[in-house]
Structures are given as C-alpha cells and as structure tokens.
C-alpha cells in the first residue's frame, strides 16, 4: 500500500507540484521586474495550448528522444521513491538529459546542435556534484539504497554541509537559470533561439515541459531530503532555495560555457570533494 501511495505521489502529484512551482517562478520573476506577471496556473494553460497545437517535427527520429527524456525522468523519481539504488537513479537522471541532447543533435539545425553541445557542457559541469552527493550519502549511510536515508538518526545536512552548498550551485544549472542557462532557457529570454528544444513543437514541447515539472520536484525534493526526519523544515528550505534561485536568475548575466564549467569545477566541486575526504577520514578512523 505504501508503495502504491509513493508511486501515485511521484507520478501524479509531483508534476502538479512542479507546475505550481514553475507558475510561482514566473509570477515572482515578474514581480522582481516590476511587472504584474501571468496567473499562477499559466504553465497549465501553456501545456493545454501546446497539446492542441500541430506536432511539427524535422524528422521522426527526434520524437523518440522526447519520450525517453520524460520516461527516464519519471524513472528517476520512481526509483528514489521506492528507495532504490541511488547510482541507478543518478544514471537514469543523466540519461534523461542525454536523451534531450541526442534528440537535439539528430536534426540538422546548427542552433539545435550547438544547444545540444552546451547541454553536454552543462552535464560535465554539474554531474560531478551529483555523483559526489551520492558518494557522500553512501559514506554516511553505508548503503546505496535511497531508503537508507530515511533511517538516519541525524539529517544529512549535518554531515554533508559542503556538498549541500555545491548542490545549490548545480541546481541553478539543472533548473536552466541564469547565469548557467546556456543550452536553452525558459520564459522570455532566448539563448540560441531555443537551443535543444528548438525543433520540438506542440505536444512534444509540452512533454519536455512536463519533464521539467518532474525535474523541478525532484531537485527540490533532494534539497528537502537533506533535512529528512524534519521534513517540514526540509520543504521550507527547499522553497527558500527555489526563491533564491529565482532571485539569482534575475540578477545574473549569462556565463560562457567554458566559464560555467570552470566556475563549477573550482569552488563547488572542490567544496564537495573536501566534504567527501572528511567523511572518508572519519570513516577510516571510526573503524
């Protein structure tokens, strides 16, 4: 019964939460810019509209990767919700982004292709942080199963504070926010026309949006998981983090891709590595 509830939650409720969060993002962004902004449920209207549009494509191959993108994203959430293997979830999450990359590079459009390459650069920048996060959790719990996090006596943030900081930076990339929204970007600011999502129209774009809702939920869910046991505190922190990400989005200019990678690999990744080394040392001394 618990499994069914968890599945229901991540498959049905998660995208709704993500949708509302994205709507809130647009309202907050507008307010920050001194505008009124769209209604809260604007992403829903967008979805319905996109669903009704003509599904234009350049070729048939690219369609498959939209489905894979969404499927892997949901799979990541399902795996984590079932308390499954975190490395597998990490791979699934990476492949979700990768499907988008492959799909975008299978059309002969330079915009789309350059967008795909920038997406790869983004992955190069943030994946180390995610991997270090998993390694850190393993060192803390002694298991690769996500369910082990729930059985901890003290929240993860206590032992992984630096990884948490690094994760916040990586989050900014994953949410496609400035200064790292180099591959594509949501809302009105255009980079590379639309980068990876350029050649997807109508329903396919809608599916990519849905995947983004899942992802928003997933990423903020991980923030909350740092505070597990005090789950309401976690949810509060996640919301604050999201608001912070929106603010950063609005006050930053976009970086070049190489700067992005350098920026991530210098401070955040090193912070995370320090944290991991510290955990290793404590483990070896502890036993």
């Amino acid at each position: 019964m618990g499994t069914v509830m968890a599945l229901f939650f991540v498959v049905v409720v998660a995208p709704l939460v993500g949708l509302v969060l994205n709507g809130a993002d647009r309202v907050v962004t507008a307010r920050l810019q001194g505008r009124v902004g769209p209604p809260l449920l604007q992403p829903l209207y967008d979805l319905v509209k996109l669903w009704r549009k003509e599904p234009l494509v350049v070729n048939r191959v690219q369609i498959g990767y939209v489905y894979l993108h969404l499927a892997f994203m949901v799979m990541t959430l399902v795996l984590l919700a079932l308390g499954g293997d975190m490395v597998l979830a990490l791979f699934a999450h990476a492949f979700s982004a990768l499907s988008l990359v492959i799909g975008a590079s299978s059309v002969r459009s330079p915009f789309s292709r350059i967008g795909a390459q920038r997406k790869i650069m983004q992955m190069l920048a943030y994946e180390p942080v995610f991997i270090l996060l998993v390694v850190g959790i393993y060192l803390r719990t002694g298991s690769f199963m996500a369910s082990a996090v729930g059985r901890l006596d003290a929240p993860l943030i206590v032992s992984l504070p630096l990884v948490f900081l690094a994760y916040l930076v990586a989050l900014e990339i994953k949410l496609e926010k400035s200064p790292f929204d180099v591959a594509t970007s949501h809302h009105a600011h255009q980079e590379l026309v639309k980068g990876v999502t350029l050649e997807y129209a109508g329903p396919y774009l809608a599916l990519i949006e849905v995947a983004h809702f899942y992802e928003t939920f997933l990423l903020l869910g991980i923030v909350a998981a740092f505070f597990v046991r005090q789950i309401w505190l976690g949810v509060g922190v996640a919301l604050v983090v999201y608001a912070g990400a929106i603010v950063v989005d609005n006050v930053c200019a976009r970086l070049r891709t190489t700067w992005m990678v350098r920026c991530l690999w210098t401070v955040p990744v090193m912070l995370a590595v320090c944290n991991i080394i510290w955990l290793y040392v404590r483990r070896t001394q502890g036993g």
């Binding site: 009124v36 003509e54 639309k194």
Partner: protein, 171 residues
Amino acid sequence: MAWSVHELLGRSPWFVHYNCNSCNGCDIELLACLTPLYDVERFGMLHVGNPKHADILVVTGSVNHRNARVLQNVYAQLPTPHVVVGLGVCTSSGGVFAGSYNVLGGVDKVIPVDVFVPGCPPRPEAMMDGFLRAVEILKRKSAGLPSAPAEKEVITVAPPSGPHAEESDAA
C-alpha cells in the same frame, strides 16, 4: 464557449516577431509592450524566438523582393492554429516605403494576415489591442469556426493646413 479548451488556448498566446523591412520604429514599440508599464505577460503572452513555438506571427515593416521568401518560410514553420498580426502601416500598404523600387507592398501580398494594427508606429496600447483581437481569432480557429479576413484600417490623412500648405500644394 465560456470555458473550454479553446478558451484556455487563448490564455497562452506566444508570439514570434519578424522584422520584414521595418524602420525599427514598430520594433521598439513592440518591445515596449514587454516592459513593466504594459506587460503583455499578464495575458500569458511570451516573446519566443522561433516560429515553431509560436501561435502569433507578428510582422513589422513592408515586404520586399528579398524578404518575401523568408517571410513565407517563417510562416510555413508556424504550427496551426496560428494568427498573423501586422504592426504599422508598412505592413498594410508599404507605408512610407510604398512605391519604392524594391518594395512589394503590404504583408498580405505574401501571406494571409488576420489583424492589422494601424499607426506609424502604433502605440503599445494599440498593439495590445491588436493582440487581444488576434487571440479571439486564435480561439475561433482552434474551435474550427470561420474567422473573418482582416480589414485594412482606412487611414484618412487630414488635408495639410498651416503656413506650409500652399507650398506643398504648389509643389
């Protein structure tokens, strides 16, 4: 049609802007629509960068031999249902460029236009009014209802008066 899918469709009109041969006056006024003072995002409107994501094609400027083909290409890449809005007198007749050696005339010479917004340049309020009309047409198109072809605004220019009137008459 008080509340239906088509109604929702009208709540998220994304537009792509194509500058045909404009003097940039209309373009600048269009961008003013995005600013806090006018804020078209209130209506769910987004300014997207390519026709494949757009519902409304916003054209400024008159059409010439060189860009007529481009305009057709962009138009062909719009997914249905879609609406075309012409901003400024240039789009309806060629405006100040009409009769120039390379100008074909209004946008409707090349692609069907649903709404013309008069002015040189039109005020942002007028543009937004035009967008809202376009949204109504979008809803009708989505529901499969017939939509009336755009009427060109008839612009009557008052006869010149004042000290230069005779000069120009003489000329």
